[in-house]
Structures are given as structure tokens and as C-alpha cells.
């Protein structure tokens, strides 16, 4: 039973991951991005759980719970909690929606081309889905480069990080639990620090537009 649904479940989870990433590029409002991020966190946790059940390893299922707590609930909660305090400035990205969605499509194709070379030897079902993770990394970069608001850049960073986690789970079944804990803690702290800085920026300049960070140069 599970053997037949396993490929479909993997496909469903990775499909959700890619879809939410693409939607984040499309939507400009901060609140929508945070909700999509929460959905993405749940999809990632589900993916890890599916891999864990298929392998029959308790440790991987524990990692799935950890991912759910940090990426599905913790981070979106921190982001939403902080965002309420400040004014809701919508993003005016450097690329219009059509161009950015087209870029997403190109990046996804690029991810498949690159993965077909790197992962040529691996023929497992999960390895076939690994290009999605790489595509998410590239989409995260796209968000980082094209967004002007400090907090939207943060969303890009988190998509990038989710992409890396997806690659990790699909190619090697995840890292040891100790390491996963360390990585999750690091990401959580980086996000909090960036949030503190975004808050200071808001206090100092009245907005969080990173285009004004141009004082230091040679």
C-alpha cells in the first residue's frame, strides 16, 4: 500500500514546495508571504515524515517534528508577530510579476538541467525530485536580489534555506538529528537577528527600504 503511494506522496509534497515558492515570487504582500512560508514549512515536514516512514527510521520522524515546529509554526509566528507592530508597506519589487514568474520557470528548468548532471548516478524516487530543492534555492536567490524591503529579503533567505533542507532530505535522507538541531537553531537565530535589525532600521529611517543602505562605499 505505502510502496505504491510513496512516489505520489513525494510528488505531492515537493509539488507543494515548488508551488508555494513560485507564489511567493508572485505575491507582494508580507502577510501572504508569511502564510505561504507556513504552508511550505508544513509541506517540508510532511516530506520528511514520508521519507522517515518509508525508511522506517524513528530519528527521521523526530526530525520531521522538529521541522514542523521550527519552519511550519515557529518562524512564521515570529514573522507575523513582528510584522503586526509595524506599518504594512507592500513590496514594490524590481521585477514585475510576469517577468518574475517567467524567471521562476527558467530557474526551475536550470535546476533540472544541473541536477541531471550532478545526480546522474542516483536513480531513486526521491533523487528524481531533488531538482525541486535546487529550484527553491534559486528562487530564494531571486527573492533576495529583487526585493527592496528588508523583511521581504528575509523571506527570500528562508525559501533558500528550505530549498537546501529539501535537497538534503531528498538526496541523503536528511542529516543526523544533532546536526539538524544545530542547523535549525542557527537559522532561527539569524532570522531573529535580521528581524531586530529590520526593527532598528524602521526606528532609524522610518521604513525598511534597503535601497537607502548606500552610505558605505569607496
Amino acid at each position: 500500500m505505502f510502496e505504491t503511494t510513496y512516489p505520489q506522496l513525494i510528488g505531492l509534497c515537493t509539488g507543494t514546495l515548488l508551488l508555494t515558492s513560485a507564489l511567493m515570487v508572485w505575491r507582494h504582500s508580507m502577510l501572504a508571504s508569511i502564510r505561504l512560508l507556513a504552508v511550505q514549512g508544513f509541506a517540508l515536514a510532511a516530506l520528511v515524515a514520508v521519507i522517515g516512514v518509508q525508511k522506517g527510521e524513528v530519528e527521521v520522524i523526530l526530525v520531521a517534528v522538529l521541522v514542523l515546529l521550527v519552519k511550519g509554526l515557529g518562524l512564521p509566528w515570529v514573522l507575523a508577530h513582528e510584522s503586526k507592530a509595524t506599518t504594512r508597506t507592500d513590496e514594490a519589487p524590481r521585477l514585475n510579476p510576469t517577468a518574475s514568474l517567467l524567471t521562476v520557470a527558467l530557474l526551475t528548468i536550470l535546476a533540472y538541467v544541473v541536477s541531471s548532471r550532478v545526480l546522474a548516478r542516483d536513480t531513486s524516487i526521491s533523487a528524481h525530485a531533488a531538482p525541486i530543492g535546487l529550484a527553491m534555492v534559486l528562487i530564494g536567490f531571486l527573492l533576495l536580489v529583487t526585493r527592496r524591503q528588508a523583511r521581504s529579503q528575509l523571506i527570500g533567505f528562508l525559501v533558500l534555506d528550505n530549498g537546501i533542507a529539501t535537497v538534503a532530505f531528498l538526496t541523503s535522507g536528511g542529516v543526523p538529528l544533532v546536526l539538524e538541531l544545530g542547523i535549525s537553531l542557527d537559522v532561527l537565530l539569524v532570522v531573529m537577528i535580521l528581524y531586530v535589525f529590520a526593527g532598528r532600521m524602521h526606528n532609524k529611517f522610518g521604513n525598511t527600504d534597503i535601497d537607502q543602505l548606500r552610505k558605505l562605499h569607496d
Binding site: R117, V118, L119, A120, R121, D122, V137, F141, L144, A150, Q153, F157, L160, D161, I164, V167, A168, T171, S172, G173, V175, P176, L179, G182, I183, D186, L189, V190, I193, L194, F197, R200, M201, K204, F205, I210, L213, R214, K215, L216, D218
Partner: protein, 566 residues
């Protein structure tokens, strides 16, 4: 015996964390500021113990995750030594006075945690753990860079955290690909000891992609071009001891991570791939440093670009491979010590002069020999004069590159080094040498702030004992403004009045052509902070290259670790 020394593996992690907690809880600022120094001493002491262990052919391990071979032990010593110079030398100033009172202990606490994270990065036998601790340094230094809480420091710390964490995220992707490749050994592992064995059946395509991404990510942290753009901003805005720590310790440890990854990939796909990558990054770094040093105006940014230059040359050394590695490792120590010294002195100059612009300082040798002389000696070491170890490292790398058939790369590097040498010399001359009358024309923008201190000193009121910097500032203003009134530096520790002529003090009589008579300049001989750490750092840097045993032996063994000897 091996087990009895393994305590030295966890002391550099546990003790700094303990001192960090003490820094947060102890109310007295004087005691609190000793925390980072104690942490550095703990790291240095553990490093020396491990050095002794590895020289006696032992490899201490602890709990399966920590392991000290010759390379780890040496790097731990480097971290401790540079940390000691930066934290002890940083005692004098009040570089983080703008921190709100409720966060006052966090500055010292974060420095201790930073040192613990760096120690963990070098003694971890797990690439993943090494990654996590390098990422942890981004977290600890983020607030340290932004400690001044100005708009500029906010900008610097934002850029630093974004670029730094994205960089190490790329490194994580690379490490995970190497981890995926390691499944071919039977059990997936991140132990660097297992992975760097020769002849493992790893998938070359995965290792190539993983190695490239990991090196790219750690190169961001090491400040190699073209991912260097955070470095000048962060180094120029951070408080001076933090700049010294980042430049001396963080960049070196990031390069250490590159060397470890290189050892893994070289065993699978041969050295050519990363050699090309590191050569390009190294030359590009040298080029960026040369291009931006020519027109540099800020002395802290000058030091930052010099760090990019030295990291570039170290990357070229790493590209050359085994023959150049002892020189690269010695380079890490020499550059770290000298750069920590220079950043500490730059912090003191910034504090007493109130400006980071070279053109607004000038004539430091005449006005403040106490700061200018350490600066000049350290700059001589930095640009590569013998007997300081940087000279021997640079020569070692260039000779090894030449005999390894990389003549073109080291040739270009030499030309760029000459350009950098000329720029640094010109900027140092502009900062230190010259007539003080030029300096008097440039009234620094912060003078009005110190008007009260000046008034106190002028009326002869004794300044409060704990208020040394205020007294120094007063002395500055006296030597600067009250020249014609004939008042000697009341607040200076060594009053040095000269009533006849400036020519007596100026070491270059021909430069003082201005006929100024009856001018009093009291040269400020105060070093504005502890002098001993600076002297120790420069003396170590000058003596170390001449000690064949045990330093030379340790360097050769550490380099051999990367070549496959365990």
C-alpha cells in the same frame, strides 16, 4: 595518555561559555571586561596543551565529535593568541559606550561566545558541526558589528548578516552534497577523518559540485573576491577589537574550512579543479584590494582591504597545494597577530582623533608618538618587511607556486603585491609623517564635543581617576589648540613641554620650513591603552619564523594532515 589530555578539547568550548555567562551577570564593568581576556587565555592554553600532545604523536579525541590533529591544535593556538591580543589590547578604549546599559554585559559575553564558536569550528571532526559553528559566529558577531548603533553600523551589520548567512547557506548545500556522496562508503558520514581518506568510492560529480559550493560559501566568509563586499563595511564599522577578531580569527578559520574541504575533493577528483577556482579568487581579491587601496581615505577601511589582500594570497597558497601549506598556516598566525594589533591601534587613534579619515589625522608621529610608533612597526610587518613572519610566508608561497608550475599566477600576484605595497606605504606616510601645522589646519569635526574636557584641564582641576579618556581628549585639545598660550599638557601622563621651537620634536627638520617661533607642542606619548599585548604580538610575529622546533615541526605536521597523514 591520549585520553588524559582530551580535556583540552572541551575546555576551549566550556570555559568561554562560562565566562560569557559571568560577563552577563557580574555588575562591575571592570571585572566584566576581563571575561573575553580570560576566554582567550583558556583557548590559548588549551591550544598549547594540544600542541604538546600532537608533537608527542598523540591525537586527542573527545566524544566522537571532537578531535585534535596537528592542524586543529595549531589553529586553536592561533585563535587563542589573536583573541588575546585583540581583547587585551581593546581594554583601553570605551569602544562600545553607546550600548544601552541593559545590554552592557552582552558585548563582552558575545566576544566570549564568538571565541568558543571559533574553537569548536577548529576542533570539530565533523564538517557539519564545523559549518554550524562558523554560522554561529555570524550570529555572535552580528550585534558586535552593530554595537555603535549608528545608521552606518546598521547598514554594515545588515549587509554582513545577509551576505554571511547566504554564503554559509551555500556552503551547507555543498556539504550536504558531499554527505550524499559519502553514502557510497556504506554509511553516510560527515566525519572529515573518514572522508579525507584516499581511495574512497565517492561519486565524482557529487563531490565536484559539493566541493565547489562549499568552497564558494566559505570563501564568502573568508572575504575572498568577488564575495568580499561585506568585509570593508563590517570591519570599518565594528568596534576595533571586534574588527581585529574578525580579521584575524574569522577569516583564518573560514580559510581553514576551505582547506579541509579541499583535502576531501582533492582525494576524489584531483587538485586541478579547486586549484583553478582558488587561484582565480585569490588573484581577484588581490586585484580588488590593489584597486581600492590606491584611492583609500579611511584608515580602518585600508586595514580591511589589506585583509582581503592577505586572504587572497593565502588562497593562492592553498591553490598551490602541499608545498605552500606550511607557509599559509604561518601566514594565518602572522597576519592575525599584526592585523589585530593594527585594528587595536586604529581604534585608539579613532577614539582620540575622532575621525577615521587619514587626511584629517596626519602628522601622528610628531603629535602622538605613543600611537604612531606601534602603528609604524605593525605596518612594516603587514607590508612584508623581514624579520616579521608575513615576509617569510609570502616568499614561501611565491617560491612554492613558482616550482609548482604556477608561474603566471604568482607573477601576477607579485605585481599586484607591489601596487598594494606602494599604496599602503603612501597611506601610512600620510597618516603618520608630516608637520603638525598641516594637522592644525584640519580642525576635526568632533572638537565641540570635548569643549568641557578642555575647560576642566585648562583650569587645572584634577580629572576623575576613572575618566582617563576625557583627560586624554583634553590633552589632545591642549596640544592642538593651546599651542600659543604656552600651557603644557596637563592631562597627559608624561607632560613634555617644549617652549622653544617645534623643530626640536620633529624628526624631519627639513619639513618644518614654516618659521613658527614660540610654539609649544606637547607630544602625546600615551599609548591610550595597554602596550604589552601589542609588543608581545609583534615580537611573536618577528620571532616565530626563526624557531624550527617546535614551531616549524608543528607547521609541517599540520600541513601533512591535509595531505592525508593522520
Amino acid at each position: 595518555m591520549s585520553q588524559s589530555l582530551s580535556f583540552a578539547l572541551w575546555t576551549p568550548l566550556a570555559l568561554p561559555v562560562l565566562f560569557a555567562l559571568l560577563s552577563l551577570t557580574v555588575p562591575s564593568p571592570r571585572v566584566r571586561r576581563l571575561g573575553p581576556i580570560a576566554s582567550s587565555l583558556a583557548v590559548l592554553g588549551s591550544g598549547v596543551i594540544l600542541d604538546v600532545a600532537v608533537l608527542n604523536d598523540q591525537v586527542p579525541t573527545f566524544g566522537g565529535l571532537l578531535r585534535a590533529d596537528a592542524l586543529s591544535a595549531y589553529l586553536l593556538t592561533v585563535v587563542g593568541a589573536i583573541g588575546l591580543v585583540a581583547t587585551w589590547g581593546g581594554l583601553g578604549g570605551n569602544g562600545h559606550s553607546q550600548t544601552p546599559a541593559r545590554w552592557a554585559g552582552s558585548y563582552d559575553g558575545l566576544i566570549s561566545v564568538f571565541l568558543a564558536a571559533m574553537s569548536l569550528a577548529v576542533v570539530a571532526d565533523n564538517i557539519g558541526l564545523m559549518w554550524a559553528s562558523i554560522e554561529a559566529t555570524t550570529i555572535t558577531t552580528a550585534f558586535l558589528v552593530g554595537a555603535h548603533r549608528t545608521g552606518k553600523s546598521l547598514e554594515a551589520s545588515w549587509k554582513y548578516v545577509i551576505l554571511g548567512s547566504v554564503g554559509v547557506a551555500i556552503a551547507l548545500l555543498g556539504i550536504l552534497l558531499i554527505y550524499a556522496a559519502s553514502r557510497a562508503t556504506g554509511e553516510a558520514t560527515l566525519s572529515w577523518l573518514v572522508l579525507s581518506q584516499p581511495g574512497l568510492p565517492l561519486d565524482p560529480a557529487l563531490v565536484r559540485a559539493g566541493g565547489a559550493l562549499a568552497v564558494l560559501g566559505f570563501a564568502t566568509k573568508a572575504g575572498l573576491a568577488p564575495m568580499h563586499s561585506w568585509l570593508p563595511d563590517a570591519h570599518s564599522q565594528a568596534p576595533a577589537p571586534v574588527s581585529g577578531l574578525m580579521s584575524g580569527v574569522l577569516l583564518a578559520v573560514a580559510l581553514y574550512a576551505i582547506l579541509r574541504v579541499q583535502a576531501i575533493t582533492d582525494a576524489v577528483i584531483g587538485p586541478d579543479f579547486l586549484r583553478a577556482m582558488l587561484s582565480v579568487a585569490g588573484l581577484l581579491s588581490l586585484f580588488v584590494a590593489a584597486a581600492l587601496l590606491i584611492r583609500q581615505r579611511d584608515f580602518k577601511r585600508m586595514l580591511a582591504y589589506s585583509s582581503i589582500e592577505h586572504m587572497g594570497l593565502m588562497a593562492i597558497g592553498a591553490a598551490v597545494g602541499a608545498a605552500a601549506l606550511p607557509a599559509v598556516l604561518l601566514y594565518m598566525l602572522g597576519h592575525g597577530l599584526v592585523k589585530a594589533t593594527l585594528f587595536v591601534v586604529s581604534g585608539r587613534i579613532l577614539e582620540v582623533e575622532g575621525t577615521p579619515t587619514i587626511a584629517n589625522v596626519r602628522a601622528l608621529l610628531v603629535r602622538r608618538p605613543g600611537l604612531a610608533i606601534p602603528w609604524l612597526v605593525a605596518m612594516a610587518a603587514l607590508v612584508g618587511f623581514p624579520p616579521f613572519s608575513i615576509f617569510f610566508s609570502e616568499v614561501g608561497i611565491i617560491l612554492a607556486g613558482w616550482s609548482a608550475g604556477m608561474g603566471v599566477v604568482v607573477g601576477i600576484a607579485l605585481v599586484l603585491l607591489l601596487v598594494i605595497f606602494a599604496s599602503l606605504t603612501r597611506l601610512t606616510v600620510a597618516l603618520t609623517i608630516g608637520s603638525p601645522h598641516d594637522a592644525l589646519d584640519h580642525t576635526p569635526p568632533t572638537l565641540p564635543e570635548h569643549a568641557t574636557g578642555e575647560a576642566t584641564a585648562r583650569t587645572g582641576h584634577p580629572t576623575a581617576p576613572g575618566d582617563e579618556s576625557e583627560a586624554d581628549r583634553a590633552a589632545t585639545n591642549l596640544s592642538r589648540l593651546e599651542v600659543e598660550a604656552g600651557i603644557d599638557g596637563a592631562g597627559a601622563p608624561e607632560p613634555f613641554p617644549m617652549t622653544s621651537n617645534i623643530r626640536v620634536a620633529a624628526p624631519f627638520p627639513d619639513t618644518v620650513a614654516v618659521p613658527v617661533v614660540d610654539v609649544v607642542i606637547a607630544p602625546d606619548r600615551s599609548t591610550h591603552g595597554p602596550l604589552l599585548p601589542l609588543v608581545l604580538a609583534l615580537a611573536t610575529c618577528a620571532v616565530v619564523p626563526f624557531i624550527a622546533n617546535p614551531v616549524g615541526v608543528l607547521l609541517v605536521r599540520a600541513a601533512a594532515v591535509l595531505g592525508g597523514a593522520h
